[in-house]
Symmetry: C2
DNA sequence: GATTATACCGAAAACGATTTCGATTTTCGT
DNA sequence: ACGAAAATCGAAATCGTTTTCGGTATAATC
């Protein structure tokens, strides 16, 4: 009924708890005969060590914490997928928390994880990130920390990101190379670094190709939704019939725009090209299928965890660890919503 | 540097660890003055209890484990979302694991969670579920267990499901009521109870409406993909031009079918109606938007956890707990891929 | 046979908290 | 001022492991 403990084994074998423990852990000062006996009994009684006790004694939990804005989101669930897989390989378990874009919640969750004595924390920040005290606390406590995707530049720790600016630059360049000249940008909210960077990439691409920036072609999403994409497409088309391309902050917004164009017999890509961002699953099954920028979530999760492990190991060996920043490559997934 | 412990506080205050602990926990045999002093110092030194030690002593971890086939899947990430939210409310943390549809992995993971001494386990079974020994073990160890979505009928424990058979029955009835007479079914793999039940619901609906069952209208998906939906749609249309409806095991398969019909100018829903299953996000953004059966993942997660808590509480009080099965209602989300 | 080396084992402390139970002190009625 | 009741406190056991350090017993060496 009650879980078997070392003590139970020791009692049955008439030896000390110490010896049982040492036998099980392969210490050399245990005779073969007692070792065998211990293993046999452990097997028979189905002994499994109590992780909690081990954790207390060894001061490590083999558990890491992950905080993301939301899990119901292709990109983030891919990241989680990558993290969990990689963690399991090394015998680590993953506790997942959602901040729902609330810094307040994020703080609480950091505390929770710290109390749980997780061996490390991975986090993708909530949008309105000015406050970083709670993260500084993590660093001060010497708990390894890696930021991914939505990061804070002012925090000294490891990071895994994509180059949003470059990716956006490439996306818009792709549009320009296919002949587009009047390119709208349905950008993300004003705060997040991601959406700023993509916006800057857009501008840089225009600039490098001698296309004059036109403020009226910029629309700012608030909740980055299908509906916004649809609405903005409608609005911009009514005001600018000669628009010939849309670069959307996200596939979902792009799909919204395509829906409007489809319904109103505006040919995509012949009249208007559309390019999205993220390569969500959905973008391959709509018609026309959506050209987009692949954002490698799975890989990002894996890399982030690997960096975390690196830091954890350095710490174990008492070595100093210098934070690293990994920039993952993105690539354009060419489908049927753009020309060429 | 090192985390503050009760001992540290006790030392500074020149009182015993016992008293510090009792003060913090609000025991009545601590004077107001020392209580205040303790709280003040705890605050000042930023004391937080070491959960691991507490867990060992109290024999509970305030952690639950969840095993799902895969997390990169709208339905399951919604379930996880529901679970995490509900857990957090009660101060519980969630460890998520993916079985990747492998029973072998599932077993390992169960053991991992058991060793971690999680307070309870939620699991949605891998597809080829014949073996249930590892789950029986969980029950034998008196660790509360709740199955959801993909369950095993032969296991005596709480369950949260939808009535797949009835849901499918309603979906097909919807097609029939809209005038469809030759209805194909792109069913799921042969093993999972889900896909069996949906198939049975399909047959029952035909039977109740005096439509002869035609084996040649049944296609069996193996990996339940977009491509399969596309391929099956092509095949069946070439063999049966008079087909007038498709009931697909999943939205993704349905979307694949719609893609084929769209490309070949077969009007959906006027010539052929299509109905899916699950209400994935994607189904609302394709065109025509997909009529489907809503499968309440978020709610399922919440309910499953509530059941788990119920069992955990009963156990704490030493009460007997009788497993419950909750059947969540589904409803048809009428969109534009079916008539009426 | 005395000495040293080797093999094997176990007592005990530690990890950080909780809780029981007994001890001491204070308060108060008379 | 005395005894009883109430208010405070702390020692110690416990949760289940790990690990250090010392102690025996046996084998090897001369």
């Amino acid at each position: 009924m009650k879980p078997i403990t070392l003590k139970d084994l020791a009692l049955k074998l008439n030896i000390s708890v110490t010896t049982v423990s040492k036998a099980l852990k392969g210490y050399s000062d245990v005779s073969k005969s007692t070792r065998d006996a211990v293993f046999a009994l452990a097997e028979e009684m189905n002994y499994t060590p109590n992780s909690v006790a081990v954790n207390l004694r060894t001061r490590q939990t083999n558990t890491i914490g992950v905080i993301i804005p939301t899990i119901v989101h292709q990109f983030f669930s891919k990241v989680i997928d990558g993290i969990i897989e990689e963690a399991e390989k090394k015998g680590y378990l993953v506790i997942t928390l959602q901040s729902n874009e609330s810094v307040k919640l994020e703080k609480k969750q950091i505390d929770l994880l710290l109390n749980k004595r997780v061996d490390g924390i991975l986090i993708s920040l909530a949008n309105d990130q000015k406050e970083i005290k709670h993260l500084q606390k993590v660093i001060n406590k010497k708990t390894p920390l890696v930021l991914f995707d939505k990061i804070s530049k002012s925090l000294v720790c490891s990071k895994v990101v994509i180059n949003d600016r470059e990716a956006a630059y490439n996306a818009v360049t792709h549009l320009i190379q296919s002949g587009c000249k009047k390119i709208a940008h349905f950008r993300g909210p004003l705060n997040p670094q991601n959406s700023i960077d993509r916006y800057l990439g857009y501008r840089k691409a225009l600039e490098d190709n001698n296309i004059k920036f036109d403020k009226s072609l910029i629309y700012t999403c608030e909740d980055v939704s299908f509906e916004e994409g649809y609405k903005f497409a409608e609005d911009i088309y009514e005001k600018n019939k000669d628009i010939d391309a849309v670069f959307a902050i996200t596939d979902l917004v792009a799909v919204g725009a395509i829906a409007y164009f489809n319904e109103n017999n505006i040919a995509v890509p012949n009249q208007i090209s559309v390019i999205g961002f993220s390569n969500w699953f959905m973008s391959s099954v709509i018609s026309p299928s959506l050209t987009t920028v692949d954002q490698p979530g799975y890989k990002m999760g894996k890399k982030a965890l690997k960096l975390l492990f690196k830091e954890m190991n350095a710490q174990k060996k008492g070595k100093e660890f210098i934070p690293e920043t990994i920039v993952l490559p993105t690539k354009i997934i060419k489908r049927n919503s753009t020309l060429i």
